[in-house]
């Protein structure tokens, strides 16, 4: 019960990460093209294959993948620093993001040696971008209800169904899809498997979905008699649910669950420093700095657990819930602040950036598990379920 709370004991980043942080910074100074804050605010939704390739050339895509597969072989702490620096700079990391954070580690952990040798070097070279096929038109938070089905056929599997809200599917080469490979939807978590779907295969069609900010960051993906070879299956047949859950601690506890609005916040601070309203908002800035410090330390505490090979899934859910709340507060507060006095001029970049972030911020507590799901997980961790 109180085990959950006692998990959040302060842990420090190892001192070696200071040097690594400086290296990342130097790389960003040289390779990150200047962009206005409303573009940088896209953060890990910002898709830029050229930047991903530069990062890969430096060896930092596939951060935690062993070097024998072309990866950077970074420990969890160094990956934390890399991600923190990339997000703080507003680097467009979306192209390789999912492969780096989830698909690569998943293939490393559950894939066959042949799958590792095929996919991991491509991921690390930023030549293979991945998306994750989870939600379906009738399956959102209730993920165990997936209806997309892989059926055994001569030489492999036949895939039928559809996925929706899949981030970047229209830009990606592969999807790791959670689908039903046996039984019925009523069997819930049983009978689900994960397949790597080559999105260029016949029978796959991808339709981008435009969002309220004018971007198309997610898609609907349709599978019509898509033939998958045997080696498309990742891990054991029927183990899809367990495999998906094994990655959740990585997905939910990182700096990206705290820093989604950081470009906006930094830019507001820049504007305050050169304007006349700094005094009026100093306490608000202080509150954000305080919350950010605590959240960062919580994230580092969980990173320390990951570094030990543990899988603190509930702790990660807890961080994501409170972290996204912080991320969502930032645009709400800045919106109010810029209009405190209608006669005061508003920096046009700030206006656009806060507009973008305030419109897209609701997704922060949808993607990767909704607020309601996460609070349920925390409750389970407290022994209430």
């Amino acid at each position: 019960m109180s085990n959950l709370l006692s998990a959040f004991r302060l842990a420090a980043l190892p001192v070696e990460t200071n040097e690594f942080r400086a290296e990342v910074r130097t790389f960003l100074e040289r390779n990150l093209e200047a962009a206005p804050p409303d573009i940088r605010a896209r953060s890990w939704m910002g898709f830029n294959p050229a930047f991903s390739k530069k990062l890969a050339a430096r060896g930092w895509v596939g951060a935690t993948i062993p070097s024998q597969y072309g990866g950077a072989n970074l420990d969890a702490f160094s990956r934390f620093v890399l991600v923190e620096e990339l997000l703080a700079a507003g680097a467009p990391v979306s192209a390789h993001w999912i492969a780096d954070r989830q698909s690569g580690p998943l293939i490393l952990k559950f894939g066959t040696e042949a799958q590792r040798r095929f996919y991991l070097p491509r991921i690390c070279a930023a030549e293979a971008f991945f998306c994750i096929g989870m939600s379906e038109p009738n399956t959102g938070s209730d993920l165990a209800g997936v209806g997309t089905r892989a059926t055994r056929c001569e030489g492999g599997w036949r895939l039928n169904g559809s996925k929706i809200w899949t981030t970047n599917a229209h830009h990606c080469h592969y999807m790791i899809a959670l689908v039903r490979s046996s039984g019925e939807p009523k069997d819930r978590q049983t009978g689900l498997s994960q397949f790597i779907v080559d999105l260029s295969l016949p029978g796959v069609s991808v339709r981008p979905i435009r969002d309220l900010a004018g971007d198309a960051h997610f898609s609907a993906v349709f599978f019509h008699d898509v033939l998958l070879s045997d080696d498309a299956l990742v891990g054991a047949e029927g183990s899809g649910w367990a495999q998906v859950n094994a990655e959740l601690a990585f997905e939910r506890s990182g700096p990206e669950r705290v820093l989604s609005s950081i470009v906006l916040l930094e830019y507001w601070i820049t504007c305050l420093r050169r304007g006349s309203q700094a005094a009026a908002h100093a306490a608000t800035i202080g509150r954000f700095a305080t919350h950010l410090t605590a959240l960062r330390n919580m994230s580092i505490a969980v990173t320390a657990r990951l570094a030990k090979g543990e899988s603190p899934v509930v702790e990660a859910a807890l961080i994501k819930d409170i972290g996204t709340e912080f991320e969502q507060t930032i645009p709400a507060v800045i919106e109010a602040a810029i209009a405190m006095n209608p006669d005061d001029p508003v920096d046009p970049d700030l206006y656009r950036t806060v507009a973008y972030v305030s419109r897209i911020a609701p997704t922060y507590s949808l993607r990767g598990g909704t607020r309601e799901i996460l609070r349920g997980m925390v409750a389970r961790g407290l022994g209430l379920r």
Partner: protein
């Protein structure tokens, strides 16, 4: 090691009944004496001075334990005060930290709204760069009028009996903020545990409260803010130096103070009417959460200081936060 030994004493001597008795004006002796006699007030003192020379990081769980037990005596404050004072100036008895200090015409000294001001033998106040150790026995203690509160405004008609220690005044606000952050964190954790227990035990509509999703989500939010507060408080003690850094202490007090109100509110909401009764122990802790939030600067005070530091620097916020 020290934490367990101290908790053993508190289990026996800081029972809810004892907290109530001391709040009602009863003797502190049976609680204070074992802490003093076992040397637990000198945890931070150097070994040369007979202390345990405990690093601040190891003091943190001890202060949290004081918070958990709703300490009705200023043990945490005395430990901090003894660390701030030179050995020759350390008095025997309970020392509390003044949250505010002012001089008035005619040599009058006032420490308004001093936590534990009703019971402390001494008050350690900050007078600019100077620390001033003031004898409680010579003060007029003015109660706040708040039911059962040990906070008091102390008034001295002159400086007789006061000991000035020059040059170290600035350390007091940082140390006090860190101490109260730890106390709040400890009390909050206990409040959370009590609420969780209550929700498991109390049955309505044929099932325990904890089975209702709306209740589960409230408990989850409580856990989140309790965890964030705990790590923020611990951060202030994560230093090799003798005194917490002002910035880390400021963040600790801000984060815990903000959460204190929320956590107390959810705890009472989930306990129902029983939670606000005198006989139920929750109030021993939630009253202190509010009192400690207000003591030594709320989040409103510390956020301003932190924000001014951020804005005055030329660092990015992420860099600033990494450097705290």
């Amino acid at each position: 090691m020290f934490t367990e030994a101290i908790e053993d004493i508190l289990k026996d001597q800081c029972t809810p009944a004892m907290v109530r008795a001391i709040e009602a004006g009863g003797s502190c002796e049976s609680l204070w004496h074992p802490l003093e006699a076992n040397g637990f007030l000198e945890l931070l003192a150097s070994e040369a001075h007979g202390g345990a020379q405990l690093p601040l990081g190891d003091l943190f769980p001890i202060l949290c334990t004081f918070g958990r037990y709703a300490m009705p005596v200023p043990a945490a404050q005395t430990i901090a005060a003894r660390a701030l004072l030179p050995s020759h100036a350390i008095p025997v008895g309970m020392i509390t930290l003044a949250a505010a200090f002012r001089r008035e015409a005619g040599g009058i000294i006032i420490c308004p709204l001093t936590p534990y001001g009703m019971v402390a033998d001494f008050v350690l106040a900050r007078d600019g760069d100077v620390l001033l150790l003031l004898p409680g026995a010579r003060a007029r203690r003015q109660a706040t009028g708040v039911h059962l509160s040990q906070t008091a405004t102390l008034i001295w008609s002159n400086e007789n009996g006061a000991t000035p220690i020059p040059g170290v005044g600035a350390a007091l606000p940082a140390f006090a903020a860190a101490v109260y952050a730890a106390l709040i964190s400890g009390a909050m954790t206990r409040v959370f545990e009590m609420t969780l227990e209550h929700c498991n035990d109390r049955v309505q509509f044929g099932k325990s409260l904890g089975k209702f999703q709306a209740v589960q989500h409230q408990l989850s939010v409580m856990a989140e803010h309790t965890a964030a507060s705990s790590i923020a408080a611990e951060h202030a003690f994560h230093t090799d130096r003798a005194v917490p850094s002002l910035l880390a202490a400021a963040m600790a007090k801000s984060r815990t103070s903000e959460a204190a109100a929320l956590v107390a509110a959810i705890a009472h909401a989930l306990h129902g009417a029983i939670g606000v009764t005198e006989e139920y122990d929750l109030q021993l802790l939630t009253r202190r959460l509010h009192e400690w939030r207000v003591a030594h600067g709320s989040e409103a005070h510390w956020n301003l200081l932190i924000g001014q530091e951020v804005l005055a620097s030329d660092m990015s916020l992420v860099d600033f936060v990494c450097a705290v």
